[in-house]
Amino acid sequence: MLSPIKWIGLGNFRELLHDASFHQALFHTPLFIIGYLPFVYIAGLSAALALERRFRGSSALRTIYFLPVITSWIVVALLWKWILNPENGLVNSILASIGIDGPGWWTSKSWAMISVIIPSIWKDLGYTMLILLAGLQAIPPEYKEAAAIDGASRRQILYKITLPLLSPASFFVIVTGLISSFQVFDQVYVMTEGGPEGSTSVIVQQIVKNSFDYGRMGYASAMSMILFVVIMVITGIQILLQKRWVNYE
C-alpha cells in the first residue's frame, strides 16, 4: 500500500485506455441506467399521480412507498440477495412451486445486473414519488379545472397540462437518477462484488478495488478523475437543457 510516489505524467490515464475491466465497468453504467431510470421514473410518477389526491389510506401508502428510502443500502442489498437467492430464495421458491426453474439471479452472468437493478428501483421509487408529488402539488388546480370545463379528457389533461407543468420536477428526478447511477456502489459491493466474471462491475467499485485491494491509489485517482469529468458533463448539460426544455409556466 505504501509504494513510494513517482511522477508518471499521464501514465495512469494511458493505462486506463487499455484497461478492459475499466471499460467493462464504464459500459455497465449505461446498462444500469437503461434498466433503472425509466422504471423508477414511471413507477414513481404513477405512484405520485395515484396518491396526489388524498383518500383513506393514502398517507399510509406514501409512508410505505418511502420506507425503503430511509433503509440503509446494506439492509436493502442483503434482503434482496436473500429474496433473489437462486437456491431457496423467495422468488425462485415461488417459481419452483408452480413448476418453473428460476434463473440464477446474482450468481448468473446474464441475470446479475438485473438482480442489482431491481432493489435499486425498489429503494429509490419512494424518493422519485416524493419529488414528483411536490411537483404535482405546485401545479395550480385552476389549469386542470379550466381544461376540464372546456371538455378535455383526463388523458388530454395529463399529457397536455400535468406532464408539461411537471417538467421541472421530472427533469430534476431524471438528472439526479443519472448522476446517482454513476455512483452506484453499495448494492454491487454487497450483492455481487462486481461479479460473476465482472458482469456487474461499476466505476466506483473499480476505484475501491484498485485503491484498497490492489493498493493502486494513483490509478484509482485517475479513474476518479474520469468519474468527475463525466458527472461534470452531465451537470453542465443539465444546466444548459434546463433553460431550453423545462417549462416553468
Binding site: R53, I64, S72, I74, V75, N88, S93, F172, V175
Partner: protein, 273 residues
C-alpha cells in the same frame, strides 16, 4: 371519473403491498429455523416461530456496541455539521469581508462533487494524518457540509435587518446577534439539516468501509456486512435477516414518529438544485 380513480386506488394499494412485502418477508424469515426457512413452497407465517436467530446475531456480532458506535458517531457528526453550517451561514449572509463571494462560489462548487470522486485522495490525506481506523478519521471529512452552509446562508439572508438593528444600537457583538437573533429563527432549517445529516451518517457505508478495520470500532452497516460475509458463508439467511430486522427498528420508529418532517427534509435537499 370515479371508476378510473377507484381503479388507480386499487392498483396503487396492491403495489404498496408489494413494496412492503420484502420487509414482511425479512421479518418472517428471521423467525424461522431449520428446514422451514428454506422450504418450497415458502411459508409466510412461520409454523414454529422462534427467536433463535436473534440470539445467534447477538452471539456473532456485538450489536449493542455497533448501535452505540453508530449513534455516537452520528450525533457527533450532526452536531459538528450544524455548528459549522450555522456559523459559516451567518458569516456569508451577514458579514462583509474581502473575497466573501469567491469563497462562497468555492463552497457551491464542492457541492457538485460527489464523495465517491474524492474517496481516494481523502483516504490518502487521512492516512498521512495517521487517522486510519480511528473515529476522528471517520468524522473529520464529514464534519462540514457545503449544502448545509448553503441552506443556512439562504435562511439567514431572509432575516429582516430591522430585527438586528436595535441589538446593534445596544452594542451587541456579532456572536451575540448570531446566538440570540439569527439562530432561534433557523430552528426549522436546523431540524431539516439534522435529519438529513443523521440519516446520511447512520446509513453511510463506503467511507466507514475504507476507514474502519477493527470490529469494536465498526458502525452498524459494517457490522451487518461482517455478519453476512465472514460468519455465514453457509447461507445462514434467517440469521442475517434477524440482524437486518434489528438494525432497522430504531430508524423505522424515528421515521414513523417524524415522517412529515423527514419527507419535507428530503424535499428541501432535492429542490436545492
Amino acid at each position: 371519473m370515479n371508476r378510473q380513480s377507484l381503479r388507480s386506488k386499487i392498483v396503487v394499494s396492491i403495489f404498496g403491498l408489494a413494496m412492503l412485502f420484502p420487509f414482511i418477508w425479512m421479518v418472517s424469515s428471521s423467525l424461522k429455523v431449520g428446514a422451514e426457512a428454506f422450504a418450497t413452497p415458502p411459508t409466510l407465517i412461520p409454523k414454529h416461530p422462534t427467536l433463535e436467530n436473534y440470539r445467534r446475531v447477538f452471539e456473532i456480532i456485538d450489536l449493542p456496541r455497533l448501535f452505540l458506535n453508530s449513534l455516537i458517531i452520528s450525533i457527533i457528526i450532526v452536531t459538528l455539521q450544524l455548528t459549522t453550517a450555522s456559523l459559516a451561514g451567518y458569516a456569508f449572509a451577514r458579514l462583509h469581508f474581502r473575497g466573501k463571494n469567491a469563497i462562497f462560489v468555492v463552497y457551491l462548487a464542492t457541492m457538485m462533487i460527489p464523495f465517491q470522486v474524492i474517496l481516494v485522495p481523502m483516504f490518502i490525506e487521512m492516512r498521512q494524518l495517521g487517522l486510519i481506523d480511528s473515529y476522528l478519521g471517520l468524522i473529520l471529512p464529514t464534519c462540514t457540509s457545503a449544502f448545509a452552509v448553503f441552506l443556512m446562508r439562504q435562511v439567514m439572508l431572509g432575516i429582516p435587518r430591522e430585527l438586528e438593528e436595535a441589538a446593534i444600537l445596544d452594542g451587541a457583538s456579532h456572536f451575540r446577534l448570531f446566538r440570540s437573533i439569527a439562530l432561534p429563527l433557523c430552528v426549522p432549517t436546523l431540524a431539516t439539516l439534522g435529519i438529513l445529516g443523521f440519516m446520511g451518517t447512520w446509513n453511510a457505508f463506503l467511507w466507514p468501509l475504507v476507514m474502519i478495520y477493527s470490529p469494536e470500532k465498526m458502525t452498524l452497516p459494517l457490522g451487518l456486512a461482517l455478519l453476512s460475509g465472514e460468519h455465514s458463508s453457509s447461507n445462514d439467511w434467517p440469521m442475517i435477516m434477524a440482524g437486518t430486522t434489528l438494525s432497522i427498528i430504531p430508524i423505522v420508529i424515528v421515521y414513523l414518529l417524524f415522517q412529515r418532517k423527514i419527507a419535507q427534509s428530503f424535499l428541501t435537499a432535492g429542490l436545492k438544485g
